[in-house]
Amino acid sequence: MVITIALFLLLWELLVLLLQLPAFILPAPIQVAERFVRALSDGSLLEHGAATLLEVVSGLSCGVLFASLLGYLLAKSRFLENVLQPFLVASQAVPTIAIAPLLVIWFGSGIFSKVLICALTVFFPVLVNTVVGLRAVPENLRDLMRSMRATPWQTFSQLELPAALPILLGGLRIGATLSVIGAVVGELVGSDRGLGFLINVGRGQYDTALVFVGVLTLVCLAVLLYSLVVWLEKRLLRWKLD
């Protein structure tokens, strides 16, 4: 971690030195650090960060919840999969901007539409990995559960979940990472709060250091969420890692 951060700062300084770009295009780390302190002390970073965090956490939870529920159903039924797949793929290919008016009409311009966009972003990778994971459950262990007359819930909790876990957690890794950008896309489309908004404001006022502060906070948020999943993985997959 320390190595990574050091490496990152070094690269950044190098870029600044080598490219000689003006500060309003690529500010130096020290300038961004200074701006960071300012944004922190005037409370704007915390306010907007908290707004985005709320959207991300809600969107991620909803997305993961629905994706895994639906994934479970699709894994069980090839028919359902064949019918629904095109819709699910479609839901990923529609640019937010194209349906922005519908989003506003149906969900207003409040937090809900951001949470929705975030959840949609998270949805697909989690769904696909849920299906792939559940399909990878060894058939002989299914037989074992069946021979013990396990209920569907028991089969799920004692077999399918743990067996699919490495793949499910892979989906969660992707989902956690994408959730941040999902929420921000929602904010960019329209919002008066959140890091996406802060970045927009920074861009509008040519306060590039603020843009970088926003981006770095986003990145930290994403890395944090990702690390959470990695930590979860370490705890849950002990049998694979030992």
Binding site: P101, I105, S109, V189, S191, F197, L198, G202, G204
Partner: protein, 304 residues
């Protein structure tokens, strides 16, 4: 007064900015509440305000003149009821070394613009036409909203900009630029308040109130720029956190904006500007046939 309070959501199509100072002033000074209006500014960037107003999902919006015509061409019953800007705010800018004196000098240049749509594109076409040029005489590059950066790095020769913003940003960073505003060559309809025909018929007082509050805001801001700037700090995120130098730049943006606002005859729409806009859109084939322009705008809600 004892009348009911109407809640109005007003989409601006952009993030909070000093250029919206008249609205902040009107809110702060109570111009809206005097009319019995509780206004909520809406900064959604990608909302189709015209479509939402046309479908009566919203009652008002701030949009640019060409959008009214384009919307009406699609049977959207929107009406422009008050001009906020007198001058079309689009122009082109180039570094001094390009020696850009007139639109004709654009010949052979690479021009960066946000995209081949929207007000920037329309303004650019007007300029090209004024210079006797067509698209084929120049190279157009869609660069998104990166005009300042692209010009500073000489990615393009000329950029398509909002006259009250980018040139000031460039100058503040030490780049000497020449600016050619569209309004020097052609009068076009710029930003103003729109509503829909239903609201116009059913609640003319509300429309009148909106127009009055807006125009009072514009007038007051133009006369009290300093105070307006201070008010902006309350409404424009991050403005108060900028360094003094950066704040000064924003201040200049406000002043440049004031210069292109409709302050002589507050809210007044110039029929010639509408005609010019329609001609331009027809030439660009964005309109396929002329519209009934008199239905597109109205000066009847203006304060005496």
């Amino acid at each position: 007064s004892s009348q009911k309070v109407s809640a109005v959501r007003l989409p601006l199509g952009y993030i909070p900015n000093v250029q919206f100072a008249p609205l902040y002033v009107a809110i702060e000074k109570g111009y809206f509440s005097e009319e019995g209006i509780q206004v909520e500014l809406d900064y959604n960037m990608e909302t189709d305000s015209v479509a939402l107003v046309g479908s009566d999902e919203l009652q008002f919006a701030i949009v640019s003149g060409e959008q009214v015509l384009l919307g009406r061409a699609q049977q959207l019953p929107v009406v422009y009821v008050a001009a906020w800007y007198e001058d079309y705010p689009v122009g082109i800018a180039a570094l001094k070394e390009q020696n850009l004196r007139s639109p004709h000098d654009l010949k052979g240049k690479t021009i960066g613009l946000p995209g081949l749509y929207g007000a920037s594109y329309i303004g650019l076409e007007a300029l090209l036409h004024a210079g006797g040029l067509s698209d084929a005489d120049v190279t157009l590059q869609s660069i998104g909203y990166t005009q300042v950066e692209s010009l500073a790095n000489r990615v393009v020769d000329v950029v398509d900009i909002y006259t009250s913003n980018e040139p000031i940003q460039l100058q503040a960073r030490g780049y000497e630029v020449d600016v050619l505003p569209v309004s020097d060559y052609l009068s076009l309809v710029a930003n103003g308040l729109i509503t829909n025909e239903k609201t116009m018929e059913e609640d003319p007082d509300l429309v009148r109130g909106m127009v009055r509050a807006l125009t009072r805001g514009v007038t007051y801001t133009a006369e009290h720029a300093d105070e307006a700037f201070q008010i902006c700090k309350k409404y424009v995120d991050n403005l108060a956190s900028l360094t003094p130098e950066e704040q000064e730049v924003q201040r200049q943006v406000l002043e440049a904006s004031i210069k292109i606002w409709q302050v002589e005859r507050p809210g007044y729409s110039d029929p010639q500007a509408w005609q010019n806009m329609q001609d331009l859109l027809l030439r660009m084939e964005l309109l396929s046939s002329p519209l009934d322009l008199s239905a597109a705008y109205s000066n009847t809600f203006l304060p005496e």
